[in-house]
Every structure is written in C-alpha cells, then in structure tokens.
C-alpha cells in the first residue's frame, strides 16, 4: 500500500514537474505546478509529516500558487512561441548528466548516521504537529522569529515594489 502510494505520488510529481517546465501556456504551467505540490504533500504524509502536509497544501497550493495564478491573469501573458533553443539542449543534457552522477553518488551512500531524538513512535504518539510545535518553539525559536521578520520584510518589500509610483515619490527622485 505504502509502496503504491509512494510510486504514485513520485511518478505524478515528476510528470507534473516536467509539465511545469514544458507547457507553453504559463497558466498550464501553473496548474501543473499545483499538481506537483499536491503530490509532494502526499509524499509528506508517507513520511509521517502530517503538519508539513497541511502546510504544503495550505500555504503552497493555497496561497503561493494562487498568487502565481493571479499574477498570470493580471499580466495576461501570451503563450511563448518558442522556448527550447538548440543550445539549451546542451544545458539540458549537461544538467541531466551532472545530476545523474550526483544521483549515483547519493545512492551509493549508506545514509547511515546517529539517530535523533524523534523516532516515528514518539511522533505518532502526540502527533506530528505537536512535535513540530515543541521543537519549533524551543530550540528553533530564534530562527523562527527571524523567518517571521523575513516574511514581514518580504511582504513589505513586495508592497513597496509593486506600489504605483505617486507624484511625491517622483518628485523626491
């Protein structure tokens, strides 16, 4: 069962990923990306990361992607005529080659290491959200706050950037 879902989620994710970069119409790309995100969320479930699953769905699929689609709609972009240049093929193959090698390296590795303090049993006992929460607000409080500030900054930045220039600003410049 798990194996089946894993295969399903993996394959769909990969295909959706390929589609994302392959479609000409940006909106189609967006939709493919959505698929990918949802299936990756599925992979998270397989890994006992329910909280992340939820976040993936809500934040990524719900918020971020919608943002993308909004922008696409807003800009009303046309379908690209040609996107695969010949010389890009070299890049394609080179990249693929490189990652092939990396993959080999990765797969050769034993991935052995000391176990942490959060075995699956322990997580399942109180639930993933609980575990994440405890960890997040104890050891990782400072990074968490920093991320918060970062997000705030990003939002402010986005607002400032996208704001329509006013007369006063123009004058100042």
């Amino acid at each position: 069962m798990v194996l089946f879902f894993f295969v399903y989620f993996s394959l769909v994710s990969i295909v959706a990923g390929v589609f994302t970069i392959a479609f000409r119409n940006p909106v189609h790309c967006g939709l493919a990306l959505l698929t990918l995100l949802l299936h990756v969320a599925g992979l998270f479930v397989l890994l006992n990361a329910e909280f992340l699953f939820a976040v993936q769905i809500i934040v990524y699929a719900g918020a971020i992607l919608v943002l993308y689609l909004f922008v696409l709609m807003l800009l009303n972009l046309k379908t690209e005529q040609r996107y695969l240049h010949t010389r890009h093929a070299i890049i394609l193959f080179a990249t693929a080659g490189i990652f092939g090698e990396l993959l080999l390296l990765l797969l050769q590795s034993p991935f052995s290491g000391a176990k942490g303090d959060a075995p699956a049993v322990a997580i399942l006992q109180d639930g993933d959200s609980f575990a994440v929460g405890i960890k997040m607000f104890s050891d990782y409080l400072l990074p968490f706050e920093i991320v918060g500030v970062f997000l705030l900054g990003a939002i402010i930045g986005a607002i400032v950037l996208a704001k329509t220039p006013t007369a006063v600003d123009a004058e100042q410049e």
């Binding site: 798990v2 194996l3 894993f6 993996s10 994710s13 990969i14 990923g17 390929v18 994302t20 970069i21 940006p26 790309c29 990918l36 995100l37 990756v40 992979l43 998270f44 397989l46 890994l47 990361a49 992340l52 934040v59 990524y60 918020a63 971020i64 993308y68 922008v71 807003l74 800009l75 972009l77 690209e80 996107y83 890009h88 890049i91 394609l92 990249t95 693929a96 990652f99 993959l103 990765l106 797969l107 991935f111 290491g113 176990k115 942490g116 303090d117 959060a118 699956a120 997580i123 575990a131 994440v132 997040m136 968490f144 970062f150 997000l151 990003a154 930045g157 986005a158 950037l161 996208a162």
Partner: protein
C-alpha cells in the same frame, strides 16, 4: 519499507527538472515556478532525512523553506510586476542589464 534512497532519487529528479526549467525557460514567471520545484525537491529530501534519522530538524527547516518560498514568491512576483510595468515583457533575456 521504502528506502530513503528512493526519496532521495525522487527529489533529485525533481530538482533536476526544476533546474532545467530555470535554465531553459525565458518566461520569468515560469523560472520562478521552476525554483518552486527545486525548493519542493529540497523539502522532500529534508523531510525524508528527518524521518529516517529520527530528528525533527529536517521538518522544521522544511517549514522554513516553505516560508521563504512564500516570501520569494511575493517579492519575485512583485518584481515581475514592476518590470512588466516598465517593459511589457517577462522575458528574462531582455533583462540583461546585469552585464559588464
């Protein structure tokens, strides 16, 4: 039981896909989307290691990655809007001021 290397492989494939997207696409928005793919690939890795190494750190970092992705999307899209407002294009090739 699915081996860790399987997740790693999936994530590697996705990452490569995203990377290729970044490299070959000209549309800025799609480039951003490709970046999202790469982030997701990384997230898969993080969560997978977190699971197999029995440490919460991976999940936490994955959360942060999502947060950052959100920020990136917001800022990136805002930049796109600004650029588009000026140039009526989202073609990356046209944004080549960054050379000598």
């Amino acid at each position: 039981m699915i081996p860790l290397s399987a997740y790693v492989a999936v994530s590697a494939v996705l990452f490569t896909t995203g990377l290729i997207g970044v490299l070959i696409r000209r549309n800025f928005i799609i480039v951003l989307m490709s970046v999202e793919i790469m982030l997701n690939a990384a997230n898969i890795n993080l969560v997978a290691f977190s699971h197999y190494l029995e440490s919460m750190a991976g999940q936490i970092v994955a959360l942060f990655v999502i947060a950052i992705a959100a920020g990136e999307a917001a800022v990136g899209l805002a930049i796109i809007i600004v650029v588009f407002r000026g140039r009526l294009s989202t073609n990356v090739d046209e944004l080549n001021l960054l050379k000598w």
